[in-house]
Symmetry: C2
Subunit: 320 residues, 2 copies
DNA sequence: TTGACAAATGTTAGCGCTATCATTTTGATT
DNA sequence: AATCAAAATGATAGCGCTAACATTTGTCAA
């Protein structure tokens, strides 16, 4: 028992015994059995993380933030991939909860009714990431996708583009909200045209960006800009426009979403909406870890915001 | 006891009892406690996966393959990120082994001596991925990085380039072997020049590709091609060359490594060495799962090979 | 020196499963 | 109906740890 204490609450054990125990632990190479610990204590140090994709850049940045912050702490990350399916998410939540996790981090606001009930009655902390919205189960950290895409659309309008289109691949709930933001702002400015919305259920790639912009230009050849649902598409759009000899930004403006590192390197550099993915992961993990140590946040939700990074691809007229 | 059997070995229980048990399980929403199971059985259904990076496209593709194949099976994936550090890898192996995993999947051939000993005496299956080499601990699946980069270098030479350079970011062991392959082939052809090797310890980005090619062109302005250690760098190189008005492929050839999807979409499209990352992940998981079910592979290692995908960025002279 | 209290350490039971072996049931065969 | 092996089910103990409480040791003031 004293050994158990020495390993988990060193301050409850005298310095003398502590040294002795540590020496023996070292000599024997003793490592506690987490299964036995979980069984006896009725809880684990596992923090479950459920994301819709492990490939998507966006989530891999968030994951990296989470892992970075978890590194060296006692918390073990358990990753689950819901592949954008609410049903798979439900199963994952069920599996994860059976492991008596200390906490659960999951994406977005759009859980199935069953999942929502599981979460509400769950005996662990819940943290929603990626989005901000009303009624968190527990804690929430993200930003407003609608507002971000509204700002991006305004940016295109302010740059002088008058016939903007929108391209998007696989429409998860967040993508839909971004599309909504575009539509709203375009309508308010009286420049909305449904023909300039091109979407597909296929997953997003650079090649798909080429195809979608080609589609757009055949359906609405007079389009003079696009807001892309993400940066892969934006890069594809750039390549396709270049192949067609469209001058960017003079004849055609391009704006991406997320501001991946490559947007600054592109030629011309591509305007994008910066989102704070790494920070979101780090902050999520830090927050969770605090909550589990008894340090409650003063508010249940954090909005990390966004930032329009204007670059050459929308610098119409201007020299830069 | 019969319930335990019904859930793990349904064929050892009569049809009648099985139906009865399943009905009750369903009604109660019973889910077995994995911790108790692990403690009693002395083993788990966890397969530990240790990769050097969770962000890098290469590993995220492999991870996706692994997850896809694990989906729906009884195997639980536990991911660890060694961040390219042999020491962190050692700690992760230790932590993972304390969980009594069914198997361990890890990257490459270059473990520390301590790690190697841990693995050799480990009571679980071991699978090395990403590379092929001698003396697997247990099983191995990957390809030869040296041969792949030799083939890429030959491709550049056959396309008529005579002063090829090499750029690389963070030199993990696999990158080093690729550099070695380049050097060897270039030397054999009598075109090797150490001034045309530009490397940096910084992690790879598209922007870094721009910088490295700029470096190369200032150190050895007469270079007429580069082999890039990966596709991020290749894309950056393309952008930088375009900014400098270098005509690709006529004046300068570019070859990447991995053949990320965007290489085909680029303008001009970029030659790259295709590697089978998704298949590697899938095959790894399938192989591991077979081995754990008693189906032994007939050979301890699989070489998945590579493929030179020749595109416009090295099509000197030719129309395409 | 004594008592009072806190700090440190120890005792006991049990977390929810599964390995092992014992027992009962089933079904085929004489 | 009796016999026997195989199939199915059951009883028991214990995996390695921790919660809860009990006991011992140490510290300080009166």
């Amino acid at each position: 028992m004293t050994v158990s204490r020495a390993l988990r609450n060193p301050d409850k054990v005298s310095q003398k015994t502590l040294t002795k125990i540590r020496a023996v632990v070292e000599r024997l190479g003793y490592i506690p059995d987490p299964a036995a610990s979980a069984l006896a204590a009725g809880k684990t140090n596992v923090i479950g993380v459920i994301v819709p994709s492990v490939t998507n850049n966006v989530f891999s940045d968030v994951m990296r933030g989470i892992y970075e912050e978890a590194e060296g702490s006692k918390w073990q990350i358990q990753l689950g991939n819901s592949r954008y399916s609410p049903l798979e998410e439900e199963n994952l939540v069920r599996t994860f909860l059976s492991q008596k996790p200390a906490g659960l981090i999951l994406s977005g606001l759009d859980q199935s009714e069953v999942t929502a009930n599981l979460l509400r009655s769950a005996d662990c902390r819940i943290l929603q990431i990626m989005e901000c919205g009303p009624d968190p189960y527990d804690m929430m950290i993200g930003f407003s996708h609608v507002e971000a895409s509204m700002a991006a659309t305004r940016h295109l309008l302010e740059a002088g583009y008058r016939r903007p289109g929108y391209i998007a691949a696989r429409l998860d709930p967040r993508s839909q909200r971004r599309l909504l933001g575009f539509q709203k702002t375009a309508e308010e400015a009286g420049v909305f045209d449904a023909n300039r919305i091109v979407t597909t259920p296929r997953p997003s790639t650079v090649t798909l960006g080429c195809e979608l912009v080609a589609d757009l230009l055949s359906k609405a050849p007079d389009s003079d800009a696009i807001l892309c649902n993400n940066d892969d598409l934006a890069l594809g759009a750039l390549f396709e426009c270049q192949r067609r000899g469209l001058r960017i930004p003079e004849e055609f403006g391009i704006c991406g979403f997320n501001d991946l590192e490559m947007m600054a390197a592109a030629n011309p550099s591509i305007t994008s909406v910066r989102t704070f993915r790494l920070d979101m992961g780090r902050e999520a993990m830090r927050w969770m870890s605090n909550a589990l140590t008894g340090i409650e946040p003063d508010k249940p939700a954090i909005d990390l915001g966004y930032q329009i990074i204007a670059r050459k691809s929308t610098a119409r007229g201007a020299g830069r």
